[in-house]
């Protein structure tokens, strides 16, 4: 079964049950995403993928809204652009996007200014280097939830991480902020692999960036082996 509908004035077809985002991508129409990932449950929380659907009161997240027959969708209307630009500007005023090249690119594309919100409180915290496998720098975290999801029901069923705080002050956290080795974490690395911003980083990459040479890191490793 397929449905026919309109995207940016073009007649397009989609499989029944397909999301607007999938349909757009299948038809070569670009809709930006941040929290969405094929491997995780879509939560429609970043709202960057919002589109305008005729007859709907507010903008609709294309990552979860299903294509329907005769639907009229605008993926780049003035409203859509205003929402995306404002969300990007708020992100830039909140977190360290220096390693989020995709988002930097989006900001350029949507004319988003990184200094739109002067005197804005940022979410800053010191990097947490508490385990041999990865470093957590939540100043770079944009709360896409993917790490929490892969640690839980979307992949690993480890449940080592969840959230601290609420609202703007939300942060990814462990039980009573304990160090990773004291949690149920099995160092599977799924969270590191799925992090879009460099907030979670392999320890080796982190040490190389800190200026250590491959040899020096090797010594760290061999030292551990010897102790064994």
């Amino acid at each position: 079964m397929t449905v026919t509908f309109f995207m940016d004035g073009r007649e397009v077809t989609a499989e029944d049950g397909q999301t607007l985002l999938d349909a757009a991508r299948a038809n070569g129409i670009d809709i930006p995403t941040i929290c969405f990932h094929e491997a995780t449950t879509a939560n429609a929380l970043c709202r960057i993928c919002v589109v305008e659907v005729e007859g709907q009161r507010v903008l609709q997240p294309s990552c979860i809204v299903k294509a329907g027959a005769g639907m009229k969708v605008q993926t780049r209307s003035e409203k859509v652009i205003r929402a995306r630009r404002t969300i990007l500007e708020m992100l830039a005023s909140t977190m360290d996007l220096s390693e989020s090249t995709e988002i930097q690119h989006m900001m350029y594309e949507y004319g988003a200014s990184s200094s739109r919100f002067p005197d804005a409180q940022r979410r800053e915290s010191a990097a947490k280097d508490d385990n041999p496998m990865y470093v957590r720098d939540y100043s770079k975290c944009l709360l896409c939830w993917r790490c929490v999801q892969v640690c839980a029901e979307d992949a690993q069923y480890t449940f080592a991480i969840n959230f601290s705080g609420r609202g703007f002050e939300t942060q990814i956290g462990t039980f009573f902020d304990k160090a990773i080795p004291e949690t149920s974490c099995v160092l599977c690395g799924q969270c590191v692999a799925i992090c879009p911003t460099g907030a979670l980083k392999p320890k080796r990459e982190y040490l190389l960036e800190q200026g250590l040479s491959a040899d020096q890191i090797g010594v760290l490793n061999s030292g551990r082996k010897k102790r064994k």
Partner: protein, 603 residues
């Protein structure tokens, strides 16, 4: 803290084990009752038998303002500093209290005897200023503390047509006084489809703020196929300025319970929940007693029973899907809709969730029939409405009036603006509402007329401000409220409420930047259009309406961006200087950590 005796907790937990994860909030409440706060050993002990991952328990504790993962005082005073209380000097009251006990707001005294906190609206607006002292409401507090009321708050109920509030204002109504559940008995003799038809024909729409047709909601759940269905009473009344449900629940709990029974019969539900906000602890025993009375008389227990769930300080849990998440033992994150609760609600089962006032209308409709019910009100807005009138009026309280009276008539009933001062503004519908002015005095209070005037009825808030009031201070508090209460799930609201608060702070402090008007517009518009749930979609409503009515408020005292940078630079240097100077006291603080415990939880 290794010497914590976990035995009393283990005994207490037996009750919650059958509930599984859904028992998490009740179990945490019980644990906090025993230990005063939730040390990690206690949290871990709760997690084990309920089979909840430790990280998730942490996530839940962190989400709810009334759960503490650090020690707090034996007694706790929560002073409301939202709009209505602020008008009556709540800030002065709080400062006075803090000075008296030598402690900062949000901190605990050295001897761990007392914690003082700022609180979002406590639903005691008509008796402002107010505070919650442990489980007691403290109201009408004189700023010199020489007089106040403490205990269960009084109910100030007025109005021309006392239908829902006929038993209110004279203390709690027992089942003996309420009388038999005659409407429920009548409904049981009808086909369930006919009960729904009657509710549909009555034109009843939800009173919690969204105004969704109740009959259609019931029909959706009735038609859904499932092994289990639920009826939930949304008693998480937290909209700043709203206190009508507090009065209905305290004074006439059986009316709401009878409404739930009828809803359960109509849709085929066997289980019901009342989710009541954590800031109404004094209502819980009243509800428990009423439920027991209803069980004794056979209304509950056989085909349908009701459980009480107590929230823990999160405005977002008034959003229906966030409320379900909370009952299920999770952080109160709203779900994406569709699917809607009528098919995929609590525990993913078909669920009818109605506001307290909505449910209180149900027995009336069944008793008098839809036609009888429609004799009051207007064609499109039948029945009566409870308005929560507070602020600068002579006689604040709950007013039950037929739909169709004008704002002028309502204010006249309330004795007009206090002190005969001219009216400046009325905040309609709560923090998530919009402002009206004297130009709107002739607007009829109906869904249709208010919509035409661009005003939301919301939860029935009518908060009055006289000419001398600084609306920028009101807006600043609105901004603070939403920044505090955003759940943080979707980006527009998570960051938008924070940025909105910052701009409103600047404006209230006479430090507005040149582009702050445009900034506020963009942030407000984006939250309204792109947020995931109703909180974000309305978090800028009142601000945007004020920008239309009084644009001058947002540009006065404006500085250019250049000046702002200078100001920032001077602030930065001040901060760094302060840091150097504070090195010694910081050390001193460290040694006294054991005695001064400041909560790190957000304010």
């Amino acid at each position: 803290m290794s010497e914590i005796d976990l035995a009393p907790l283990q005994a207490e937990l037996q009750k919650y084990i059958p509930l599984g994860r859904s028992g998490l909030l009740p179990a945490l409440h019980a644990a906090q009752n025993i230990y005063g706060w939730l040390p990690h050993e206690v949290a871990a002990e709760v997690a084990k038998p309920l089979r909840v991952p430790l990280a998730d328990v942490h996530g839940v504790i962190e989400f709810y303002s009334l759960f503490y993962n650090q020690p707090i005082g034996e007694r706790i005073i929560r002073v409301c500093t939202d709009q209505a209380c602020a008008l009556k000097g709540a800030d002065r009251l709080l400062n006075h209290l803090c000075k008296h006990y030598d402690v900062e707001a949000g901190q605990t005294t050295r001897d761990l005897s007392l914690t003082i906190e700022r609180s979002p609206c406590l639903g005691l607006c008509e008796q402002a200023p107010a505070a919650l002292v442990d489980d007691d409401a403290e109201t009408n507090i004189a700023l010199d503390f020489h007089s106040y009321d403490i205990g269960i708050p009084r109910s100030l109920v007025y109005g021309s047509h006392r239908k829902l509030t006929v038993n209110c204002g004279t203390g709690t109504s027992t089942l003996a006084r309420y009388g038999e559940y005659t409407a429920y008995k009548k409904a049981l003799k009808m086909q369930s489809a006919d009960v729904i038809a009657e509710i549909k024909a009555s034109g009843l729409v939800g009173r919690g703020g969204a105004a969704f047709p109740t009959g259609i909601k019931w029909e959706g759940a009735a038609n859904a196929n499932a092994d289990q269905k639920y009826v939930v009473c949304n008693a998480d009344e937290s909209e700043p300025g709203t206190f009508k449900d507090r009065v209905l629940l305290l004074d006439d709990p059986h009316r709401m319970i009878e409404g739930m029974c009828i809803a359960a019969y109509a849709i085929g539900a066997t289980k019901g929940y009342i989710y009541i906000r954590g800031e109404y602890p004094y209502i819980v025993p009243v509800l428990e007693n009423a439920l027991n009375e209803a069980r004794m008389d056979g209304y509950l227990g056989a085909s349908f029973d009701i459980e009480i769930r107590v929230g823990a300080g999160a405005y977002i849990c008034g959003e229906e899907t966030a409320l379900f998440e909370s009952i299920e033992g999770r952080r109160g994150f709203p779900r994406v809709k569709p699917p809607f609760p009528t098919t995929n609600g609590l525990f993913d089962r078909p669920t009818v969730i109605n506001n307290v006032e909505t449910l209180c209308n149900v027995p009336l409709i069944i008793k008098s029939g839809a036609q009888g019910y429609r004799r009051i009100g207007t064609e499109k807005s039948p029945g009566t409405k409870l308005f929560c009138v507070s602020g600068d009026v002579a006689k604040p309280g709950v007013y039950e009036v037929p739909f169709g009276v004008t704002l002028r008539q309502l204010l006249k009933m309330a004795g007009g603006v206090a002190g005969k001062k001219p009216l400046k503004a009325v905040l309609f519908g709560g923090a998530a509402g919009a402002f009206a002015t004297s130009k709107h005095l002739n607007v009829k209070l109906t869904f249709e007329d208010l919509r035409a005037a661009g005003l939301p009825l919301g939860s029935g808030v009518v908060m009055v401000f006289n000419e001398t009031r600084d609306l920028r201070d009101v807006l600043k508090r609105l901004g603070k409220f939403f920044a505090h209460e955003s759940c943080g799930k979707c980006y527009p609201c998570q960051m938008g409420t924070q940025r909105q608060m910052e701009v409103l702070d600047r404006i209230a402090g006479g430090r507005a930047l040149a582009d702050d008007f445009a900034r506020l517009q963009d942030v407000g518009w984006t939250m309204t259009e792109a947020s995931l749930c109703g909180l974000g979609q309305t978090a800028a409503g009142a601000v945007l309406s004020a920008m239309k009515l009084w644009p001058e408020l947002f540009v006065e005292g404006q500085r250019s961006e250049g000046e702002s940078k200078k100001a920032k630079a001077s602030r930065v240097s001040k901060v760094s200087k302060a840091k150097k100077v504070s090195k010694v006291p910081k050390l001193a603080l460290k040694t006294s950590r054991k005695t001064i415990i400041s909560r790190t939880k957000k304010k």
